[in-house]
Amino acid sequence: MNATPDIACGRLSALELSQNFADAHPALTAPQAALEADRCLYCFDAPCMEACPTSIDIPKFIKAIATGNLAGSARTILESNILGGSCARVCPTEILCEQACVHNSLEAGKPVRIGALQRFATDWQMDHGGQPFTRAPLTGRRVAVVGAGPAGLACAHRLAMHGHDVVLFDRHAQPGGLNSYGVAAYKLADDFAQREVAFLMEIGGIAFQGGVTVGRDVTVSALGAEYDAVFLATGLAGVRALGLAGETLDGVMDAVSFIETVRSNDKKDVPVGRRVVVIGGGNTAVDAAVQARRLGADEVTLVYRRGGEHMSATSVEREWAQTNGVTVRLWAAPQRLLAEDGALTGIAFARGRAGADGRVVYDPEDSFTLAADMVLKAIGQVFLPAHAEGEHIAVEGGRIVVDGQYRTSMPGVYAGGDCIVGEDLTVAAVRDGRDAAEAIDKALRAGDGPGRGVEQENG
């Protein structure tokens, strides 16, 4: 006989669900923004600016808010980071700009609320100003951008600005990448990811083709032949497995898929377990755990194999999970998935501690069991080499190798975002996309563009 775990949709009322998935951090009002902007000291050589992967001129945009120049403020943000709106919402500012704010030296934990101010200015632009940039004279060049996440979008926008035409491919039906499918819904509420993409595309010259998986539907070589350059921003499309027996049981799924389901469906149609265990210590784990709670799971436990200080989720994220009723358990490694009559019932963990050499040591004899109807795996995402299979694209340590100009080993093919080495942050992906676009533009203008090339085109 086959029992089934207690996984169900609609654990909460429609009203509760809409409240739970509304904006987690409401926007600043105009008076709040004015007060907060006035706190900024307008530092010279500002540490916050240096801490931002996209190097937004933060004092400048905040000063512009203070003076009421919201168009100028937004432009300052967006010329460095065209996804400034989503970065304002999803950036772990507590380890980036806001950690560097000099106000922390005056009073710990009281930086200027840079992220909230950035949201205020970019929201204003999207609500009032529309797309602030225009395209340079058209070059007639065409670039294929593979992956419509933050890196791909940033690259596409910058290329379009420089007068190139872009075709943006993605395996999903909608553009946006992780912003559309991979982060918690309450971080980008009110369909922000799609609204931002629409705003970005207003520049023109960017065509989106969804449902195309590179490596399966089209090869990089084929794109290279058709386009003047290719930018790969495929992200980390694979997920790590636990390597335990029973991973195919109903109720065991990867957190990335769970979040994608949450993001792609009406919340009342998303199934969630009564008791959920999330394994992992990153933002995906936190986003999955909190959303499981907010869908109505009774008990959600996030289990991480090492200490809190080792989690890649920031302390702010961890506290967010805890204030949302997620129990956080540290120093525990998954040992065994438990099932009765073919149905998931729980998961056993071995307790661990830091060994003398710093490596964590688990004691298989010292274990505990958590009852679970659903186990969500969030132990890391990996680059899917299938995207580059059969191509002359060097991959090392599971990431595409690029040089300082974001060039892969394959001529005319560039890469950026999570699929190359670096911090796996939205804002870092935006920087990659932007800077790769600059590199591509420079190369195309220098005439050493691959594919159809300058001579070929002129000839």
């Binding site: 530092c43 010279f44 000099v102 005056l106």
Partner: protein, 422 residues
């Protein structure tokens, strides 16, 4: 405990804090609340002849600076717009109930002897302690040849003061306008006319700002604006200078001064006293926060005086005047250098960029690995203090006086073509 009682031009008050002649002192209701809050005195809002003036709607404009409201305030209100008899009855009532407080009545009537002669007995009958002649209002009334129109002509100041001294036994305080080139001229005229004291400054002619949508100066009255009188914290430096100039003038040094101009707290008050004031008049700070501010003014001034062993207000009045000199008396050999407390520094870089762009390139911007560090280059530092002023952390940048080798002023400096040679 310091004794804050003052006797000013023969008028006693339990503390030096008076409310200036202005909207807060326009009515019995307000003045009673002020006295209940602890104010030592009030100068009742200026009375004029009947029929009363008519005021406009929309009367104030304010200067906000980086989020702080009312750093400066301007007004286009005129004198009291209530019938004379109403004011007189209320003054009498308040004075009867608060005999220990100073109640001075501000007056402004046309520049004719009979106008002054007829209003003075009416005021005197209220039991008021004194009168203050409003020679300062710089808007509206001055277009009718009153207020600043009188204060700007020393001969008129002297003439009206003399009439008042002639027709009343009450002490006469002459309120001076700052809208002149040399404050000493009207002060001397007041003294010559027999004034018992002067009060200053009245408001400064100002356009506070322009409404960029209405394209009219603010405050906008039916689509138009006019200049007004400026006051509040922003005018304090102007007031201190004018008060100090009178206090150090040998001919005027005996003339009591009621200091006015942006006094917002006990520290401002102490500074006004040190520059020669005996009483202090406040308006904008009270209009911003209400009468309760006087509590900390009294308390703070008293504590500070205790700490300095000043027993009474008289020990503070004019205390800085011996050291208020002309530029030519300053020692050119004195040198002070900026010092940055590296532990207090929050690495904002403001000292560096201010010095680098606008001064003497005397603060180096260094990197110690990731860490920022700003250091004073002593050889380039002229001790201008700009860095200390822009630094957002109190006490982080201090100015360190260097050993001084003698005294050399411009008067005897070799570069001075008209130096005095022995």
């Amino acid at each position: 405990m310091a004794d804050l009682r003052t006797v000013f031009a023969g008028i006693s008050s339990p503390n030096p804090f008076w409310l200036a002649s202005a909207p807060p002192t326009d009515k019995e209701y307000n003045v009673r609340r002020a006295f209940q809050a602890g104010w030592g005195g009030v100068v009742w809002k200026t009375l004029g002849e009947d029929p009363p003036v008519v005021n406009v709607s929309s009367r104030y404009g304010a200067l906000a600076y980086e989020g702080r409201r009312m750093a400066g305030l301007n007004n286009i209100e005129l004198i009291s717009d209530r019938p004379l008899a109403t004011n007189i009855a209320e003054i009498k009532s308040v004075k009867r109930d608060f005999p220990d407080r100073a109640l001075v009545v501000s007056l402004m009537v046309p520049c004719r002897e009979d106008s002054w002669k007829s209003i003075l007995p009416i005021v005197e009958e209220t039991g008021a302690d004194g009168i203050e002649l409003n020679f300062g209002c710089p808007h509206g009334m001055s277009e009718r040849n009153m207020g600043a129109a009188v204060g700007q002509v020393p001969e008129y100041v002297e003439m009206v003061t003399r009439w008042c001294k002639q027709y009343t036994r009450m002490p006469v305080i002459v309120k001076l306008t700052p809208n002149i080139t040399n404050i000493l001229a009207p002060a001397r005229a007041a003294l010559a006319g027999g004034a018992d004291a002067v009060s200053l400054i009245n408001t400064i002619q100002s356009v506070i700002g322009v409404d960029l949508d209405a394209m009219a100066p603010m405050p906008v009255v039916g689509g138009q604006g006019t200049h007004g009188g400026y006051c509040g914290p922003a005018v304090k430096p102007i007031a201190l200078r004018m008060i100090g100039d009178i206090a150090r003038d040998p001919e005027l040094s005996a003339l009591p001064i009621s200091g006015i101009g942006g006094i917002s707290n006990w520290r401002d008050a102490a500074e006004f006293l040190a520059m020669g004031s005996t009483t202090l008049q406040v308006c904008t700070a009270a209009m911003h926060y209400g009468f309760r501010i006087v509590e900390d003014m009294i308390d703070g001034l008293s504590s500070w005086m205790d700490g300095k062993n000043y027993a009474g207000i008289g020990d503070v009045t004019g205390r800085a005047i011996p050291r208020y000199v002309h530029w030519n008396d300053l020692n050119l050999k004195f040198r002070t250098l900026a010092r940055i407390d590296q532990d207090a520094c929050i690495k904002c870089g403001l000292c560096h960029i201010a010095c680098e762009d606008t001064s003497h390139q005397a603060i180096a911007r260094l990197r110690d690995g990731e860490a920022r560090r700003y250091e004073v280059i002593d050889e380039e530092c002229v001790g201008c203090n700009l860095c200390a002023h822009v630094c957002p952390v109190d006490g982080c940048i201090t100015m360190e006086p260097q050993p001084v080798d003698g005294v050399q002023t411009w008067r005897d400096h070799p570069n001075n073509p008209s130096r005095v040679t022995a």
